[in-house]
């Protein structure tokens, strides 16, 4: 019963602030628009590509190209949902109303994750269909082998990115600190680690690189990734579980401020 009350309460909280609307709409718009743009450019440049790239051309992944940027909006959404409790001082009122801290945190995460999942799925399917429309003769169909999994997985990926951010924000509490770590990490550092030969083996176990494996349909040439699409998403889910567990343990131990 208490859990249902907390979920209703958290839904009221999340729908009554403007940041929810602008972060999530930015995630949709940026991911879809950038995906369409890059799909259109790829279509035009296809003839000029080296044979090696043409061989591993993955129209599904190309339509998801906007996610690199769009996921940043999901990160902001996840961080703000949790950290504004602290930055506004609302946490003291919230925990006085719901003193069981596990119920409070997981109720909040459940509501925000459900919303992120809905928006993530819409984004992923829209990015796929609109992206394919730009790809002309190089397009993939939703019925092709592995494509539906990749598109569905794209929605899950965005949800897990938001949930990971919630866990990190629950640990760090400050919105600026959380964003200051997560944004550069996912936009720059993870890419660098994943592309430099020396760190590549570690880099591909980072949450975003492991998780985004699910969106790939055509394997890269000489791909030696030691996990498949679902195992990759599983690795990402473990990162999320660890971040949320850390957030929960700190919330339980710390004084509320």
């Amino acid at each position: 019963m208490a859990a249902v009350q907390v979920i209703r309460s958290e839904w009221t909280k999340i729908r009554s602030v403007a940041s929810t609307v602008w972060t999530l709409s930015l995630a949709v718009v940026v991911t879809v628009a950038l995906g369409m743009l890059i799909s259109a450019l790829s279509n035009r440049q296809f003839a000029n590509m080296p044979a090696r790239e043409r061989l591993s051309f993955d129209p599904t992944v190309v339509s998801f190209a906007g996610m690199t940027l769009g996921q940043l909006a999901m990160i902001v959404f996840g961080v703000l949902v949790v950290s504004t409790e602290y930055s506004t001082g609302m946490i003291r009122v919230s925990l006085a109303a719901v003193p069981r801290r596990g119920t409070f945190l997981f109720g909040k995460v459940a509501v925000a994750a459900a919303l992120a999942l809905a928006v993530g799925m819409v984004t992923s399917f829209a990015a796929f269909f609109l992206g394919q429309a730009m790809l002309g003769s190089h397009r993939a169909a939703i019925g092709d082998p592995g494509v539906l999994r990749a598109v569905f997985g794209g929605g899950l990926y965005m949800t897990l990115i938001a949930m990971f951010s919630m866990g990190v924000a629950a640990m760090l509490r400050s919105p600026m600190l959380s964003l200051g770590i997560l944004m550069p990490f996912f936009f720059l550092i993870s890419n660098i680690l994943g592309n430099v030969a020396a760190t590549k083996k570690i880099g591909r176990f980072l949450p975003d690189q492991a998780g985004s494996r699910i969106m790939r349909v055509v394997p890269r040439v000489a791909d030696d990734t030691p996990y498949g699409p679902w195992a990759g998403l599983g690795i990402m889910a473990l990162w999320v579980a660890a971040a949320l567990a850390g957030g929960y343990l700190l919330l339980k131990r710390r004084d509320a401020q």
């Binding site: 019963m1 208490a2 009350q5 907390v6 209703r8 309460s9 958290e10 009221t12 909280k13 009554s16 602030v17 403007a18 940041s19 504004t84 506004t88 001082g89 609302m90 946490i91 003291r92 009122v93 919230s94 925990l95 006085a96 109303a97 719901v98 003193p99 069981r100 004084d255 509320a256 401020q257």
Partner: protein, 317 residues
């Protein structure tokens, strides 16, 4: 009923709340008085389970706060008026709190009416003045129609009309048989609202007494005298067995003395008096003396009757 039993909070070396034991009873307004930094807010946060006590225990109607089902229906609290998401409307702020405790939505409208915020219910909280924020915090405290109410410095930053309103609200809540626990650093404020007084200083309990008893024992009376011949006057009073203290600025004070007796003595010896006035020390002075004594006692005490680590805590202050 709120019961504290040896409640203690340490932050590293510093002792913020030191073995507090007292009970807050229903049907009266209990004032929680202490200078800024005495540990009042920390104590209130521990009552609500927000901060974990280092030692000791606190119970609400015999139960730990985090064991209460729908706690807002047992105890409502105003800790900090600005603890609101500025982007959320007053209505939605109260609605999410109501939903978390299974409180019907009509209560949101009712408490907004009680605190006079109905007209701005749909406005974002960031546009609220301090007084309006304070009213919103009180609305949240009243939401679950709780038997216990707790207010941390509710009159701070309010205009005279708002102060008057809060005083009457607290008195009427107590008159309905509720437990009302209100903190302040101003004795004058407590004297107007509280029936019972709990005084703390440096986190320790200094007094737990009815307001009437506090006034009786602490309102010291004395006579203030000024004379152009202070030396002779001192001799005369001394010979009559009257203890005099110099109060600065050339004034003398006689503790518990009678103005008539002193005036007659001065007349008999032909002394000129420029002032001879019976006075009553204010409660504010009594409170300051009480807390000042606590600080002095602590400073000199060291290890002994006070807990061993107290001396260490003092150095850290």
């Amino acid at each position: 009923m709120i019961e504290l039993d040896g409640l203690t909070k340490r932050y590293g070396e510093k002792v913020a709340v030191d073995h507090l034991t007292f009970a807050v009873r229903p049907g009266i307004v209990t004032g929680f008085l202490g200078p800024n930094g005495a540990g009042k807010s920390t104590t209130m946060r521990m009552i609500l389970g927000l901060d974990r006590p280092t030692a000791g225990d606190v119970r609400i109607d015999g139960t730990h706060y985090d064991r209460l089902k729908d706690p807002l229906t047992y105890i409502g609290a105003l800790l900090d008026a600005k603890a609101v998401h500025g982007g959320r409307s007053a209505w939605n702020h109260l609605l999410c709190l109501a939903q978390s405790n299974g409180i019907p939505e009509r209560r949101v409208a009712e408490v907004l009416e009680t605190v006079g915020l109905t007209a701005v219910a749909r406005k974002k909280a960031k546009g609220f003045s301090y007084g309006m924020g304070q009213r919103l915090g009180i609305a949240a405290a009243l939401l679950g129609d709780p038997r216990i109410l707790m207010f941390d410095e509710p009159v701070n930053g309010l205009d005279p009309e708002g102060i008057h309103w809060i005083r009457n609200l607290m008195k009427s809540l107590a008159a309905e048989g509720r437990t009302v626990f209100v903190s302040s650093h101003l004795m004058s404020e407590m004297a107007l609202t509280a029936d019972h007084l709990v005084v703390i200083g440096q986190g320790r309990l200094l007094a737990d007494t009815s307001m009437a008893d506090f006034i009786r024992t602490n309102s010291r009376s004395y006579v203030r005298i000024r004379s152009p011949q202070p030396e002779r006057l001192l001799d005369v009073l001394h010979q009559a067995g009257i203890t005099v203290v110099e109060a600065g600025g050339g004034a003398l004070e006689v503790e518990g003395g009678k103005a008539e007796q002193i005036g007659e003595l001065a007349a008999r010896y032909g002394l000129v008096l420029h002032e001879l006035s019976p006075r009553q020390a204010s409660l504010e002075e009594a409170f300051m003396r009480l807390t000042a004594e606590a600080v002095e006692y602590h400073a000199q005490a060291g290890p002994g009757p006070v807990p061993q680590d107290w001396g260490a805590g003092w150095k850290g202050v």
